[in-house]
Amino acid sequence: MGIQFNDETFHKDYTYRNSPAGIKRFPFPFPEDDYMYSVNIEPHVPGREGSVFEHTFDVDEHYVSEMRDRARVLADDPLRCQSLPHMTLAGWDLLELIMESKARDYPDMFQLTKNGDRWHWVNKPLGIDDTFTFLDETTLPYGPMEYITRQAQGDFTLQDQRDDNLWIEAGMVTSQADWSLDFDIGMSFHEWHAPVPLAGGMGIFDRALKFLLKLQYGAPVRRFNWTMTVDPLLDTSPENYHKWGPSKATLTPDTVGRRQHLRVELQTLYRLPRSNAIVFPIRCYLISFQDLVTVPKWGRRLHRVLQTLPEELAEYKGFARNRQMLTDWLAQYDDGSPTSPGWWAD
């Protein structure tokens, strides 16, 4: 197989690491030296070879360990995976999308053979070899959404579309930036976005919703979101906030490089064919500050972004208390020289 999978952890001893190749392909999210919310949506078309955009669903060196972490989080809290009864068909749509994409993009690791409704699925990295009947739940060990998202990196939410709105009514959410599926399930687009500062008043959610209601099958789109996480913890859930919250207070200038991570979400949106629902995969990438500054452009730029970021955003993203420490640390890597436009390394 083309990918060497890391054996690593996302909690307790935090052995998560990016390889040099992993650093090079990291999706640095800032095309400019400053940042503000915008309707940053572009077509999700295949990108540069080796980049996280090369394939529909990126599989990387963290795949196997991330799936182990998901199983651990689910065992502790099954409410992280929920699907309202009418969302099962959308779950099948998602299963088909992921299986077909992975089998096409990574034929050495994933294989899908269809014999009418009888599907044979092989997932070599996770050692899965299952035969089931498409659209028959009784032939799978879990519901279709849970079955396939236990085998796919990133969180997933499924939105039903009705009354000119989107309703978050199913999801697999174990690597979230501090929001609760259990609390938000059943909400409409503006409701689940209610806690976000400034963006509502800027008309961003009105425009984004209008755009998504017209999203076409076969024409997926993507956008980035980002935040900050101390230690490479995927499960920064509100449910467990009382457990991971203290880590923010123990960050010191000496440990910033190793412990502070930039957390980037590559979010994609697909219209699903049978259910007309929209799936929202939220893929999380983590990079330590010390790895990030090995790309000079990124170090310079992140310093400037964090310096000029509106305080409301630093508050909302949960790093206001450490903001000065982070910018002080990054200042060593900003010589003031100009940065080229776009997010690719120079």
């Binding site: 259990d182 409701e191 209610a194 509100p238 449910e239 906030y241």
Partner: protein, 208 residues
């Protein structure tokens, strides 16, 4: 005692907003109220009277004493509606409410009045029975005490008046967000001293 409609500070989009009960045309009327919500029901009947609408023969009124003890059941019993029930608490009345909602025929008009807890819980129950949330009339009267769900243990604490408050289930100190789930009929409570264990600010009476 707040006998008039409550004024709310501007907030985020999930924070519920309420109106004023207006008489509707319909074959049947289900009214659910607690405490000071009785005032909204009395005003509703007065308004209906002025408009020449007689709601009484087709009204089922479910009224419970509020958590703060307010009980105006005597006034309501004198309205002379077809079905009147007075119960001690919302929890005690729940099975009746569920039955009234599931027995309902098309064209049922729903009116909810009183505390946020009562409106929220009744609305969530009606949504489960298939009524769209925006098809119901709501009017807030009385206490602003909140029903809050602890995001950590999922336990719901009724009648929260302070911010922060102590979760009645797991004992964590929680701050009360304006983020509200109609499905759970509760605001969200989040641990306030997660980052600095033990540093809990004083409780302030905020929801009275």
């Amino acid at each position: 005692m707040k006998m008039t409609t409550t004024k709310f500070e501007p907030s985020i989009t999930t924070r519920p907003v309420y109106g004023i009960l207006e008489p509707q045309q319909g074959s049947a009327h289900l009214m659910i109220a607690d405490g000071e919500g009785a005032g909204a029901i009395l005003d509703l009947f007065a308004r209906a009277g002025q408009q020449g609408i007689d709601l009484r023969p087709s009204t089922h009124l479910i009224y419970v004493t509020a958590a703060n003890g307010t009980d105006l059941s005597d006034e309501l019993s004198r309205l002379g509606v077809a079905k009147f029930y007075h119960g001690p608490t919302l929890a005690a009345a729940m099975s009746r409410i569920t039955k009234a909602l599931t027995d309902a025929s098309m064209g049922l008009q729903i009116y909810l009045a009183g505390t946020e807890s009562l409106i929220g819980v009744a609305q969530s129950e009606a949504m489960k029975a298939g009524f769209p949330h925006d098809g119901m009339q709501t009017e807030h009267r009385g206490s602003l005490a909140r029903r809050v769900q602890c995001v950590h243990c999922k336990g719901i604490t009724e009648n929260v008046k302070t911010d922060p408050y102590v979760c009645s289930h797991c004992g964590l100190s929680l701050y009360v967000r304006d983020h509200y789930s109609r499905r759970i009929a509760a605001f969200q409570g989040v641990n306030i001293d997660a980052e600095d264990p033990g540093q809990v600010p004083d409780m302030v009476e905020k929801f009275t």
